[in-house]
Amino acid sequence: MRALCEEAVAAALAGGASYADARAVVRRSQLVATKNRRVDQVDDVESEGIGVRVLVDGAWGFACDRRLDETGARDAAERATSFAKAAPGIHARALAPVEPVQGEYRTPRDQDPVDVPLTDKIALCLSAEEAIENKAVKVTTAFVRAMRERKVLVSSDGTAVDQDLVECGGGIEATAADAELSQIRSYPSQHEGSSAGAGWEYVLGLGLEREAPRIGEQAAALLSAPVCPAATTTVVLDADQMALQVHESTGHPTELDRVYGTEAAYAGTSFLHAGDLGSLRYGSELMNITADPTTPGGLGTFGYDDEGVPAARTAVVEAGVLRGFLTSRETAAKLGDGGGGSMRADGWSRMPLVRMTNLHLEAGEGTLDDLLADVDDGIYLETNKSWSIDDKRLNFQFGTQVAWEIKQGKRGRMLRDATYTGVTPVFWGSLDAVGGPETWVLYGLTNCGKGQPGQHAHVSHGAAPARFRNVQVGVASS
């Protein structure tokens, strides 16, 4: 694969490129899903190819080809070069300088998740589903996934890296319904469960079967729970919902390509400006956000990003102040700060974009009960159900699968159809407690969309339960 990448880079340079990189990727992914104790899907997908990115007279070009041979490599390079030459207008895109690297990286694993027999995967799903058992539950689902990816990157700057990555995950879901309502509960996270950059031991450690009875009971109980009333009140969000809150309201707004407007037509831009770095108050002093592609088990954990920049932990928000953006070599050069490190592509057929890696809310102190104890009257919300945020990542509305009243520091009645809404810096400014390290959980999600043509990114977020004051909580509909 390295020789093919070198061939592609050479062909691009010969065609007039001032810079070129080539990524050869071989990916195998498996999905086993069961529904109502039947196999819903057993898929085993392989995809391979090469993607070549070039700069010609300051303009980008990208082309890809499924053929992992010399012809495919050269054709992709030539097409990328010609597409860059055809770009209208005058371009002056530049890349922040980085030290060329030669290296390898391998995801630590005890058991390769792809090698686990499909029969074992099916059996795990069926046993977890069976444990949901509840008369009011109409639909039960369980799924596990596994992926292995070999990725080689060669650039004309002299970088050549070879990475062997694995990830896997799973989840269960129970949907209860009666004549009027449908209510859902899932574990360990929302619709796509949770995944990690780890071996099969991660899936076994999720305890899907152990948690199944609880989600079945809660889904059934939600059918008779009252609707969460509208109020401005104190909310405590569980670690899972906090992971999504971090993703949507700090992850995407700090992607520097969005700040510069390149996602304006689709995913949107950001309320942040490049000049806000180091001065903008994002939230309260308890807000500490870190980007860390070295986190063990993260879906955004790698040795090198898709520009060959070595993984490094960086501060994004420190004590509530914006300290860093997620960058590429191009956006870092434009900012005049840093050298990238957050460029990731979805497989071989897409151009790398600025993406989250692993973005964490750093832990504070105390248990979930400690957070609840300091609330006379409020709402505790758990597990995301719906999410929406505006194009500048300011106005958001999130719904959770379940909520409970908090009365005099204790959990009270269960509530359904809870939503909360806010404006990003105001909301984070109202943060007054974050749970301690013992409550901090690493979640991995696989459905982060961005780019045109669209790309899915797999990213992780570590988060702890957190408490916010004066939050607008509402019902599902007026």
């Binding site: 819903d40 898929d43 055809a86 770009a87 639909v139 037509a265 929406s388 194009d391 106005n395 043509p453």
Partner: protein, 454 residues
Amino acid sequence: MTSAIELAERAVAAADGDGVEAVVQAEHSGFARFAGSEVHQPTLIENVSVFVRVVRGNRVGAAAANRIDDEGLRDLALRAGEAAEAAPEDPDLPALAGASALPDVEGYDEETAGLSPADQARLAADAIGGAGDTPVYGFFTSGTATVAVVTSAGFAAEQTSTDAVALALAATDGASGYAEQTSWAVGDVDPAAVARQAFELAKRTANADELEPGTYRAVLGPYAVGELLQYFAFDAFSGLALLEERSYLAGKLGERRFDEKVSIADDALDPQGLPKQFDFEGVPKQRVPLVENGVLRGAVWDSTSAVRAGGSRQSTGHAPPPAFRRWGPLPFALSLAGGEAESIDELVELVGDGIYITRLHYLGIVEPRQGILTGMTRDGTFRIRDGKLAEPLVNLRFTVAVPDVLADVPGLTHETTLANEAAFYDERFAYGALVPALATARFDVTGNGGAPGI
């Protein structure tokens, strides 16, 4: 290269089972994406993928690959067979599609298929130049997508479709407008005109005001109607969602729930849309009435959900691409019938006092059974006063029950527009919703967001 149908036949021949189905998807596409009037994510894609389902007894397994030499197909067949062996028996396994007569459809255009990367870059340049000095953000893309389905039960067909989309956001600090055009023939797509339309809209959005949350009468432009309808339809009009009681239609079929002016169908045969001959299981496409004159009529089905429904239920030809198969049947060719209004201005006059919405952003399904969605408006939201478009508004948060929006519809435009609904993830599969602009007596605004613009 061999044709897609020949490749699918080779894949079927390579597999060992009581039944075998092969789906080939081939893509040849170019994407000239631009931002701030500069191309920044130019992407040329060449790919062929093969998906194989193997049935052994009552067991089924599937695998996919894009290595299409003999060795690659043998390995693919082996993995699909192993998946089938690993699966427990399914007594309700549907039969594979047999030979059937297919509808004649349009949807392929030589000129579109022949566009070179230089042509795609030129058409992007037309959009970039269409908004004068105002920066534009968007893309021009075109491609050919071939789908071939072959089954051991006798179905064998291949369709090559073309599509072209121009999308433009003209935006400055505090002002933005949006427009798009989608067709299977590039001759129907004028990128410069799209950008001009976005620019003309953007000019009217500066100095936007906030709006007191509440329930308003509203006019939704076709892009907003298309997105709202598509999100509602994922659950509401899916046969699987109906079986699982998460569809709004559950328990309400045959009831008049919407305004009698509302008629919705899924119609992949309509030449104004992006026509398809058959679905990803090899079942012929057909027009499926979903709502007729406000009465809830039905949903779309694939073979698996149809078997589970029992009785005489048959697939309506709505098995999705293999990547989406787990979600069950999906309506990818929605159409909302037009009304009698000659123009959007006429709808604005009908509404009298309310709001106008060009486009929606980041919809979320809050509660599928009640059809409750939330999202934001963007790139052209206005107050309607005295039957005319008045001052621009900031981006608005809305949380609406779609059935409420459709329950009282003062009017719809006669003209319909094909709104692009594809974000081009995974293998290329262009789809859109053919919709008019719509006036509603009820649209719930629940908050204010930022100003329009970049």
